[in-house]
Amino acid sequence: MRVCGLFRCVFLIVLATFLCFSGALAQSKKVLYPDLAKTKELIITRGYSKAALQCIQCHAQKTPGIVEDWKSSSMARAGVSCYDCHVVPKSSPMASQCKGVKGSNIFTSPMVSPKTCARCHPSEVEQFEKSAHAALASQPVVKGLVKLWRNLEGGVFAGMDPQSPLTTAPRQSGCQACHGSQVKLGPDHRPTKDSWPGGIGHRYPDGGIGNCTVCHNRHAFSIAQARKPEACGKCHLGPDHPNMEIYYESAHGQKYLTEGEKWNWEAAPDAWEPGDYTAPTCATCHMSGIGDLSTTHNVTERLKWDLVHKKSVVRSGQRGDGIRGRKLMRKVCLNCHSSIFVEAHFNKLDNSVALYNFYWEKTAAMLSQLKAKGLLKKDKWNDGIQELAYYLWHHNGRRARQGAAMAGPDYAHWHGFFQMFQIYKDIQAIYNYRLKNGKIEDLSTVMSTGPY
């Protein structure tokens, strides 16, 4: 019995020791799986100044997502780091200091305007500034349509306090995100919460206008991303300009969806040619170097028509040179299509534009005649005929024209001309009613959201 008791005792001690060790082992296993998102450490000792390295190392821990994104980019390969774009002179209106540089002579800004990008990419920025993507894009948000986002969408008309920050919600969440707006600075020289970041025509305190990171998202600044149609589609979609949808419907888009994964998206600028792809994306036709055409960051350069405003006219002045635009776009097409094919396409577009203009001019004539007789309401958003005219132009008319321009027949027809003729008939009926009775109908005759 005694021997047996001794054995039992030894066995228990061994078991206890084993359990202790396995517990410790389990604990040390926990260390094997650190929290990658928070303890990322990146030590670089090559090619950067001491200050630049400090930014990288600190931000690898503080904002690992940003540094991870950057470190595989061509910017990182070219030796461009945080410091090169975010450091500003002390006298800059945007100069502030993060905790890491407090007390030093280094001043930074979270905002980077195209002026900074232009230091290395001057011609790209100069072309961009001439395009409708720069100042023209944010103009309605800053000037023309303030009443729309503040008084109407912001609810002032329904009793919202005009000074309330809620009135800026439509701008913050909508207009500004695509069009851009104007950065306002707080006393700490940082942007106010409601004025940054912004879309493609954003206006910065250093005078720079535009936002390169809309298409080349920070902090990878990829050329491949900007070549994919979705880069454009994040703004060019929806009921008023379904360009993304039109592209997907077109033969170009179908090939992209089928074969796009195999395309060479990384070719150098101006060296991306047919063969690297089997169909063009938005960038190919509107921006890329193709054949003997050089790259351009002026997206309006290869356009003939203004397909945005109430009446389509050949582009001129600050909106470009339409005659030259058509010549350039024809050159683009001829890289892959026969001339007879190209002529047929442009013939279809020009006829569609002319037909739209016919409808619009007749509508505008009816409206001005009613106005002269005092038969239009002052508030156009409470007046059926004016709302219908808006949709004829802003939604259906654009879909018809842009569907024709980029070969999306469903948009040109069912979402375009098919609805346009019906809207026109309604406009005509209201027009006749008002003229005959000499008065405006008591209630609006159309749905407030209009026909989709």
Binding site: R77, A78, G79, S91, P122
Partner: protein, 183 residues
């Protein structure tokens, strides 16, 4: 007039002209230097900021450039001399009228951000002839190649704004602050 007199006259004339030319040349050079320019009080801040910067005598391993090397056109000698005369006169008159105080510069720059060149491209290019030199960083290569190919309207100082006088705006604001304290 005899022959001996003629020769004597020529010799004296040549010596005299040589001396005048040498003195003029040396004055043209010395009046383009920081020491001379900053003998007017209002230019001292430009001298100090230049001293501390990349083109000054601070130990950054860069050859120093004197005022006139950047602030006068170097297209050719005639243009250079005419400009020197014109700007010299302009600055002298401005000095007499008490102009060129930091607060006046700040207001001027505030109102006109894209004002006339503060440094001449021909001045920069006199020394910086090879813009795509061996060993140039890739980020500079991208911009300099576009410049060389004439693809951009940007000038040297569009990008290299602080090469001459560092952050001159901050320096001026700090000077004004100090003056306010001593008042």
């Amino acid at each position: 007039m005899n022959k001996a007199n003629l020769i004597l006259g020529l010799v004296i004339g040549i010596i005299f002209t040589t001396i005048i030319s040498l003195v003029t040349a040396s004055k043209v050079i010395s009046t383009g230097r920081a020491n001379f320019c900053s003998s007017c009080h209002e230019m001292e801040i430009f001298r100090d900021t230049w001293r501390a910067g990349g083109h000054g005598p601070a130990d950054k391993g860069v050859i120093k450039a004197q005022c006139a090397q950047c602030h006068l056109p170097h297209d050719n000698l005639v243009v250079y001399l005419i400009s020197k005369f014109k700007f010299g006169l302009h600055d002298y008159l401005a000095h007499l009228r008490g102009k060129g105080k930091p607060q006046q510069w700040l207001v001027k720059w505030e109102q006109d951000q894209e004002q006339a060149p503060k440094a001449y491209e021909s001045g920069c290019r006199e020394c910086h002839q090879q813009l795509i030199a061996p060993g140039i960083p890739l980020k500079a290569f991208t911009a300099h190649r576009q410049y060389e190919l004439g693809l951009t309207q940007k000038t040297c100082i569009s990008c290299h704004q602080s090469v001459g006088h560092g952050d001159i705006i901050t320096a001026m604001k700090e000077t004004l602050k100090k003056q306010a304290i001593f008042k």
